[in-house]
Amino acid sequence: MRVIETLTVPGTVDSLSKIAEYVKQVATIAELNHKATYKLRLAVDEIATNIITHGYAEAGLTGEIYLRADLDNSRLTLAIEDTGAIYNPDEKAVLQHEYLSQTLETREAGGLGVHLVLASVDEFRYERAGDRNRNIFIMHRNQ
């Protein structure tokens, strides 16, 4: 496996467009198709937004977001790390069918992002690495 790209940006919403450009670049190198590229960008965007809003801003913290992409013959692995509050998306309750069929008038707004992450990438996992949160996204190639 080889590291193809890294990117470090401030943990603020202004960084979301740079993160999106980065994801599109590595997806192009990995030869993902348009749909897979969109889904990976969506998943990374959702997690980056959670890091920025929950991990940093709401916790009264500031810090960077570190992205790294690794490529091998069968898959593209993208990792995002941050030093914000401990935030494990895996612990967020998976949205149940009853929620997804609720009308918008009665909906709570939380949980949609993580739901989209899990629905968009081939594999997703969270781990704690020292003082960092690490979110890992995997897309299979040659689909």
């Binding site: 919403v13 202004d14 979301l16 467009s17 999106a20 749909k35 969109y38 889904k39 960008r41 969506l42 965007d45 959702e46 937004t49 920025i52 809003t53 929620y99 997804l100 069929s101 609720q102 009308t103 918008l104 008038e105 909906r107 707004a109 949609l112 992002g113 739901h115 989209l116 629905a119």
Partner: protein, 109 residues
């Protein structure tokens, strides 16, 4: 691509034309536009999304906000969403609450 949200009210129909990329950094622009028309006496809110290239859950949250702000009597339409935006609406069950149509003429009927 830069995000824009432009609103227009004709009789009891409010239209907002969305274009570009709707994420957490641009969703406040969309939300402001919704707030600007929330006090008006309208029966339909129509989102023209043909040129909306990307939408994250930040956009979905503005849809929830719109529906809750305007009340159950205001019908929400999404016109001509691109394939992946439609995919997101369906995966999150929003297609149960929002009417998705191919062209604006279907709303005006």
């Amino acid at each position: 691509m830069a995000f824009t949200a432009i609103s227009e009210i004709n009789d009891d129909i409010a239209k907002i034309t969305l274009s570009g990329e709707l994420d957490a950094s641009t969703a406040p622009i969309f939300k402001e536009e919704v707030e600007s028309i929330a006090g008006q006496d309208i029966s339909k809110l129509v989102l023209l999304t043909e040129d909306l290239e990307y939408m994250s859950s930040a956009g979905l949250r503005v849809l929830i906000f719109s529906k809750q702000k305007m009340g159950a009597d205001v019908q929400l339409y999404v016109v001509s969403p691109q394939e992946m935006v439609l995919d997101t609406l369906e995966k999150t069950g929003f297609h149960h609450s929002v009417t998705i149509v191919d062209e604006y003429a279907a709303v005006a009927r």
